[in-house]
Every structure is written in C-alpha cells, then in structure tokens.
C-alpha cells in the first residue's frame, strides 16, 4: 500500500542496549586498532588508490587505515536511508531505533508444507514465496527466499531479480553472485523506478554485498561497493567473520575483526563518493558450532552486540533475526525465530531479515514465514508507545461509572475495542472450541493461512510495457550466455 510518510516504529519506547558504553568503546577501539595495525587486503587497485590518496598506508594490496579516516567516514556517511516501495512512496526509514522484518534469500531447499518433503526449490516456489511475502502484513521488505534449481545456475540471480520486481511492491534487498549480476539487477530496478536518477532518489532496492572475511575482501565485493557508491544505491556491506575459523573463537575477538571490516567498507564508500549510502551488519560474533560444523543462526551470545556498535556509529543497519537452526517447523523453529526477532527489534535493528529460514539458511518454509509474520505483529505491538491521552485514560468515564458496573456496553468500548492487539495464528479459544476447530497446532493453522493467502492475493503486476523491458534484460543475458 502506498504511504505518504515512511512507516516507522515510534522511537520513544525504551530499547535494550546489549553493550554498556565502556564495552562498546573498547570494541570500537580494538576494531580501529586492527585497521591501523593489521589493515585489510583489498584486491582492487581503484579502492587502494582512493585509500592511498586519503593517507592510508598502502603496501601492495594491504591497506592500513588510520583512525582519522575512520572518524571522517563515520561523520560523512548518511545516518538515515529511506527505502521506497515500487511506486516510489517512502516506506522504510532506516534510522534511530526503527525495526522492520523481511524474508531471507537463496534457500537451496524448500520444506514443502503440502507434501512434508524437503526438496530442491524451484521457480514455482520462488514465485509462491514472493507472493506470500507480498501478502503478509508484517513483512516489510523482501529478499529472494529461494535459489531455484530449475534455471541455469549461473544466471539464477537475474531470474530472482526479475521475479522480485514483478511480484512485490515492497522494498527489496537483492543478493547477486557477482558484479555482472548486480549490474543487471540494478538495471532492472532502474527500469521499474523510471530511470537511474529516479531509483537513486527513491530507491526500492538495496544491494546485499557478501564480503568473505573481515580483513580480506573478495574483489567482487569491493567492485560492487564502488558501483553502488557512484550510483547512490544503498549498499549493504556485509563482512562475515566466523569465530574459531576466520576469527578468534571468542566473541570480542570476532566482533573486533568484523567491525574492522565494516569500518573499512564505510571508509572506501565515502572516499568513492561522500554521502554514499551504506548499511552495515547488526549481526556478527557467532562461532561455528564445533560439534556439528554448522554455522548457527539463532545463538544467543552475539545478539545485540553489532547493533549496539552500529547505533554508536549512527549507521543504518541490517540485522539477522528470525532464522532458525531447526530442520523442521516445530517448537525449536518458533522459539528461535521469536527470541531472535525480539532481541533484534529491541536492539533497534533496522532491517531484520531471514524470516522463514530453517536449517541454518539451507531450507526455506512458507509455513515458518507465516509464523514469523505473526511473531512480528506481536513484537510490533510490544514496542508501541502507550497512549496516555485523555481519551485513553477515560477518566471522565471512570468517574461517571464509579466503583462498579460494566464497561462492555459503553460507547467508549465500542469505539476503541479494535485497537487492542489480536492474533491471527496464535490460538486463544477455550478447550472445547479448539477441539471443535480441529485441535490444530500453530503450524497447521499457519499452513492453512499460507494456502488462503496464496489463493486470495495476487501481487500487483508491473505495467506490461515495464514488464517487457525488464524481461528483455533477462533475455539479453540469456542470449549472451548462449542459452
């Protein structure tokens, strides 16, 4: 739905800060120190030149970045980014203590709720997933959800970009394999927005950039960052450090390395273009589970740490909540999604992604997504400020009522009863009513809701002339690949 002003959760409600100021300061100091002493490895001459010209010590492809550059970059980087919907209306203001919920991207598998089967995801799953994400009221932004196995795997990201733009009007975070994929995806988004300038002014799309390590940047990631900076496209610069393997096993050490990588990216982007919009990770610090070798999505220890630092730096951020390590939709998946979504929302995590993720990101579930939507609604109601207006306090009514009598039949109740929060999937019937209704579990009710929404909701299609120009981009890429 088009909105006049960006939707945001009110900022007056007190939030949770995982770090006290002294701890935050120590982590920041450590990160800045790593940048100055150890530096980062950047295999892109253009980025190295920018750093060298700005006074960083560049030796081969290693750049040691002084603190004053970091402070300058933090000062220069935008403190707010507004993502728009497909019609160009402002939708999500990434600033302050706002939080928004979104799906994840690129699950290889789908847990098919109709058959119970865990199987490779297809284009049909991608389309259904996006339609569902578009329909769910508490999903604020959309990522690709599935990596379809039934398309050429080297071009899958182009198909995903085209489907995202076609099947939702909500803001999008786009993941692509390489620079060429990102350029094609941006081209499509710019077509939909009505031109490069239009998209730069009112971006629907933010680009997710996967940086392989905190201090060692893959060439693609830096090239993507430079293009986004130049075009004014919001760049989600996401280094990942895994405790015990690519960083120290301890939480602080891993955070220090990853924060160094984050800050280096902010510096490079601002040197490329002052005011380049960068979104930083509000997650990080987890370690590989050293019994199972799985990278866990829902561990408690790192929650809120990176978010606290991102708030300290005043930067728009991208959180990882809602993902579950469970292999199925069950008590674990609901508990993990709920706790991580709540933690990230209270931390003011701006864009919180991975709703619908199971199996540590390898399998997506439409039922889990619907459950996450319910949990998101619960959380959004939790953080609403309490209305203490005269109308809400209703003191005149209390005075008139005296000490007894029923409020049920009053006009005040009739006027305001729908303002209280009501669940959609959470069940509050009495026992007999619940039994008569099929004695359902939340997962069963969520599956029913998924079917209802898919049957009743048709995403607003792109205008045919726009849709054909977008499709021409995909066809051109296919032809170039000899397909």
């Amino acid at each position: 739905m088009p909105r006049e002003t960006p939707r945001e959760t009110p900022r007056e409600t007190p939030r949770w800060d995982r770090l006290d100021p002294a701890t935050a300061a120590r982590l920041e100091e450590a990160a800045v120190g790593i940048l100055a002493r150890t530096g980062v490895q950047i295999p892109v001459p253009e980025a190295l030149a920018l750093l060298r010209d700005a006074g960083a010590a560049v030796d081969g492809s290693r750049a040691r970045i002084p603190e004053r550059l970091v402070l300058w970059a933090l000062d220069t980087a935008p403190k707010e980014i507004v993502l728009h919907d497909r019609t160009g209306q402002p939708a999500l203001r990434l600033a302050g203590r706002n939080h928004f919920f979104g799906t994840g991207s690129d699950c290889l598998n789908v847990l098919d709720h109709r058959t119970g089967e865990r199987r490779r995801a297809t284009t049909a799953d991608l389309r259904e997933g996006l339609a569902l994400a578009d329909a769910l009221p508490n999903i604020d932004f959309v990522m690709s959800m599935f990596l379809p196995a039934d398309v050429d795997q080297t071009l899958a990201d182009r198909y995903q970009a085209a489907e995202l733009l076609a099947r939702t009007r909500k803001p999008i975070v786009l993941v692509t394999y390489d620079l060429a994929g990102m350029l094609d995806g941006l081209e499509m988004a710019e077509i939909v927005a009505g031109g490069r300038a239009a998209h730069a002014e009112r971006p629907q799309l933010g680009v997710y950039i996967n940086v392989t390590r905190g201090l060692l940047f893959n060439e693609d990631s830096v090239r993507k960052l430079l293009v986004c900076a130049e075009r004014g496209v919001p760049a989600l610069w996401i280094p990942v450090t895994s405790g015990g393997t690519t960083g120290p096993i301890t939480l602080a050490g891993t955070i220090a390395i990853n924060s160094a990588g984050i800050l280096a990216g902010v510096v490079i982007a601002q040197l490329a273009r002052e005011g380049a919009p960068v979104v930083v990770p509000a997650f990080g610090g987890d370690s590989l589970d050293l019994r199972t070798m799985v990278d866990p999505y829902a561990g408690p220890e790192p929650k809120g740490v990176a978010a606290s630092l991102a708030h300290r730096w005043g930067l728009p951020m991208f959180s990882l909540g809602a993902g579950s390590d469970s292999k199925t939709v069950d008590e674990q998946s609901a508990a993990e999604a709920g706790m991580t979504m709540l933690a990230d929302a209270l931390a003011g995590g701006h864009l919180i992604h991975d709703c619908g993720y199971l199996e540590s990101g390898l399998t997506g579930s439409l039922v889990q997504l619907a459950i996450c939507d319910e949990l998101a609604g619960w959380i959004n109601a939790l953080v609403r400020p309490v209305d203490v207006s005269d109308e809400a306090l209703a003191l005149d009514l209390v005075e008139a009522h005296g000490v007894d009598g029923s409020y049920l039949e009053t006009d005040h109740t009739f006027t305001h009863y729908r303002e209280r929060w009501y669940p959609t999937l959470i069940d509050r019937r009495g026992y007999e009513g619940w039994r008569a209704g099929g004695a359902t579990t939340m997962a069963q009710r969520a599956a029913d809701r998924v079917e209802e929404l898919l049957a009743s909701h048709t995403p607003t299609p792109l205008p045919p002339d726009v849709e054909s120009v977008v499709r021409a981009v995909v066809e051109r890429v296919q032809a170039a690949a000899g397909l």
């Binding site: 290889l108 990596l147 795997q153 080297t154 899958a156 394999y177 392989t212 393997t245 590989l288 050293l290 019994r291 199972t292 070798m293 390898l362």
Partner: protein, 234 residues
Amino acid sequence: MNDTEFQAMRQAVIDGDADAAEAAAKAAIAAGIPPLTAIDEGFMVGMKEVGAGFAAGDLFLPDMMLAARAMQRALGVLEPELKASAIERTVAGRVVIGTVAGDIHEIGKNLVGMLLSTSGFEVHDLGVNVAPERFVAATREHRADIVGLSALLTTTMTGQRTVIAALTEAGLRPPVKVMVGGAPVTGSWANEIGADGYSEDAMGAVELAKRLMGAKDRAGAAGAVGTAAEGAAR
C-alpha cells in the same frame, strides 16, 4: 604385551596430550613393542574412540584436532623405527584433495584431510582454486587411489564434473575413485556427475574413503597375483 603401555598410548590420544603421546611412544620402543603394533593397537584405538565421539556429537572439533596432533607426535617417534626395521606402514590409501577452480573455501577440506591422515591415509592437499590439470598431475605423481573434490558455491561445483572428465580423459579413471563434498553438494549431484561417492561431513568422508578402498582392493585382487600387502598386515 603390557596393557598399561597400550592404555597410556590410547589415553594420550584421547586426552589430546602430545607430550604424553611422545612419551608413550618412546616407552613402547623401550619396552620392545613393535612400532606397527603400537600404532595399530595403541594410538589408533584412541583415535577411533575420539572419532566415534565426534561423530556422535559428544566431542568438539578441537578435541579431534588435539587428538590428531598427539597422534602425529607419536608417529614422529614411531615412523623412523618402522623405516629402520624396513617395515612399511600400510597406508589405508593415497588421496589427493583440493578445492576446485574458482573457489577459495578450505576449512571443510582441511578437516577431511586431517581426519583421513589420522585414519591412516596418505593425503596430498593441493589447496584451493585448483585447476583440473593440477588434479590430474598430482593424481599421477602420487599414484593416488582417491581424489577428493571440495566446492562451497553452487557456481563452482560444476568444476567437480570438469575434474572427473579430465581424470577420465587422462586414462587415470578408472581405477581412480572420486569423492565430492561441500555445502551445496548432494548425493544426487554426485550421481549426476558420475562421482564415486559423496559425504555430508568429514567423518562420513573417512568412512566413504575406506569403503572406496575396499572396493578397489576387491577389484584389484580379482585379477592380481598374490602380493606382499596381505602378508604385511600383521
């Protein structure tokens, strides 16, 4: 045979205590225990226990790594003794492993290499971003029985198919066996590209390698003249 000494060898590995392993190895020699016996009935027993604990989810990867280090320290003492008495430790098999071209991920591969090595395989790790030609050359050079291919990305896993083709073209396969692994790799992918096996995790890779060697030995023995290998087992 002195039980206490074998207990000490086994325990040193279980405890991940390299110093104790070295001491136990030296004590074994001093007690006149044949080095091969010390390895197979002392240290390897501990290694298998740790491996089982890890596979069961009770032990952590660092526990395996410490055990492997203790094992290596013991082998450092015992292998020269084997050479001196001109006994060749039968390797369980010769393996060439690497991450395919275009892919720089290595942690899983390193883990597999470590576990194979401590399970008695001779392992040649080619590193990351390895071109098909290098796999072929290394297979030839080291007379590998098995080639292990790792890929972490859906965009690089096709390289596994390429290496299999290169090995076949070079006339090395058969009899060389190929096993594949990595996060996006599945059993059906392995079948599709004609690999000889696939494992979801490192412990499974060791079991797979043993199975592949068993199949090779049966195939080899079918047409071969009796070799000394069977005699060297004890």
